[in-house]
């Protein structure tokens, strides 16, 4: 992802606890409210909420915990998701729709349909993912908005 000349006007960070399905989704809904308060376009907000929610669920389901940091610049929403955990062995596969390594328990709860990363990529204008086996995953999403123009 290329760095732009514009710095963050505002930043927020959400800690994500592994395995906590009760609180899962809170980061996405808090971010949604912030973006609504900033008056961004509803479709932009929706894409940011979907990307954040799916990333949040990935951290809850697959990692040992992590955080989501969001920078809002004059023309973009930069979502950085970092977790410590087993990492993703085959990123290409993980980006295919329907591919999931979620456990049976998790699937029974209605999660782990293998749409997480594909949905995030679809919501993003820029998308990058790095993962180290045994260490964790770092996901960066950029969604452009025109509010600051």
């Amino acid at each position: 992802m290329t760095a732009r000349g514009t710095g963050a006007l505002m930043s927020v960070t959400y800690e994500i606890v592994a395995g906590d399905f009760v609180r899962a989704g809170e980061a996405a809904s808090k971010l949604k409210r912030v973006l609504q308060q900033l008056g961004l376009d509803p479709t932009i907000i929706r894409r940011a909420a979907i990307a954040t929610y799916e990333a949040e669920m990935n951290i809850v389901i697959h990692s040992y915990g992590g955080h989501i940091s969001v920078d809002i610049t004059c023309d973009s929403i930069e979502i950085l998701c970092e977790d410590s955990g087993p990492g993703i062995p085959d990123i290409e596969k993980a980006l295919q729709e329907g591919y999931s390594t979620a456990s049976e328990d998790v699937r029974e709860m209605g999660f782990g349909a293998g749409m997480g990363l594909p949905n995030i990529r679809r919501s993003a204008d820029d998308f990058s993912i790095e993962s180290r086996i045994g260490q964790g995953t770092r996901l960066q999403v950029r969604i452009l908005h025109r509010a600051g123009e």
Binding site: M10, G25, A49, E54
Partner: protein
Amino acid sequence: MRLQPYFHSVTLDTDSCKGCTICIKRCPTEAIRVRHGKARILEIRCIDCGECIRTCPNHAKRAIADDFSLLDKYAYTVALPAPSFFGQFSGHDVTVGKILQALLALGFTSVYEVAEAAEHVSLATQRYVNNSIIRPLISSSCPAIVRLIQVRFPDLIDHLIPIQAPVDIAARFAKEMIMRKYGLRREEIGAFFITPCPAKVTAVKQPIGLESSWVDGAIPIADAYARVLRILPRLEDTPSLQQASAIGIHWGRASGEKYAIGADKTVAVDGIQAVIDVLSEIEIGKFHDIDFIECQACRGGCVGGPLTVQNPFLARVNMESLTQELPDKMSPEIVHEFEQRYSTGAYDLESDIEPRPILKLDDDFTKAIEKMELLEKTLDSLPGLDCGSCGSPSCQALAEDIVQGLATEGDCVFVLRDGVQSLAEELLDLARRVPGSISNEAETSPGGSLQESMDEPEIGEQEGSGT
């Protein structure tokens, strides 16, 4: 953007309001504040759902609606009873035909069941669901939900089915028929909805997606109920008046609409909080494999409306027994009429449903960011108890109000108490300072004198233990 002031059916009776703050927490759009001891409704936020009418222990929230005297203004009148109206009546000998006959006895020239129009809307919705690729599609029949989506979920407007609500269809079809039959002009006919809720009253006065409503007045079910009840036992059954099948009548209760649509994957949600939860989940991509969602602001559906009389659970039972003798399929005449009208676009909304976002801090993005920072800072200084004593529904809402200049930090009783406490400490500190000119201890510093005074209780204790 609408420039004239909003009309709201839900209003406040200032004399009855005690300023108790109960309503502010239940309002789904945070549209109420208590200021100077009285509730105030923020008009741009209110969606007329009537939650505050249900919640207020002092009955200070009221629905402004029309009354029977309005009938006198028209040469010809037609009653449009909501499907939920039938659920208000119980008893072995009560029939839909009798209830309709009662409305004629009350002075209406004719009746047209909104349930019949609901059957048309069901068929139109089926077509729309089959032809659209958007999922999930959300019913637009509950006006409180349409307004909730406008203000809190503007990104879901595309999911709303752009078909007119049954009452609007009913008023137009009834009037067109009367105009043809008797050669009357539209304005000579008064169409009156017997309504379960204030949201419908507002929808009539200020329609969404329509240039103007064909409905001329909305009379609360509670008002019509008493009059009908009085004359009902004297009336003969008039089955010829009744056109709708059980399918249309069941629109009056939760899941009735879902049942009438009959698509593959349908969901029915009732109660505004449950609807908010579902809409929030749709926003993050859930429910994408559901075809159709019925959303009702009131628990139990329209029979749970704030302007009804009967307990919604009993009303549901009443509807079940009333519909037992009715056909459980739409009549071929209705289906035929639908086919003819559908091709002319008779069911479509006339204009787009516009977003009305209420959370935006400022139209200018840079200013919104500045306000956001101030908001975060302000929120940190508040206790996070969401007690409502300040008159705003939560600390978050108070912080927003402060940033928008509608409140001050001193409105928070905890911030105020801390302020008073530190002021009192400072006063005490000042009071204990002895000016050097009158001090008899040469070395005493102001700090020393404070230390001395703080030791005093210990001296007292020693004295006490000596006795």
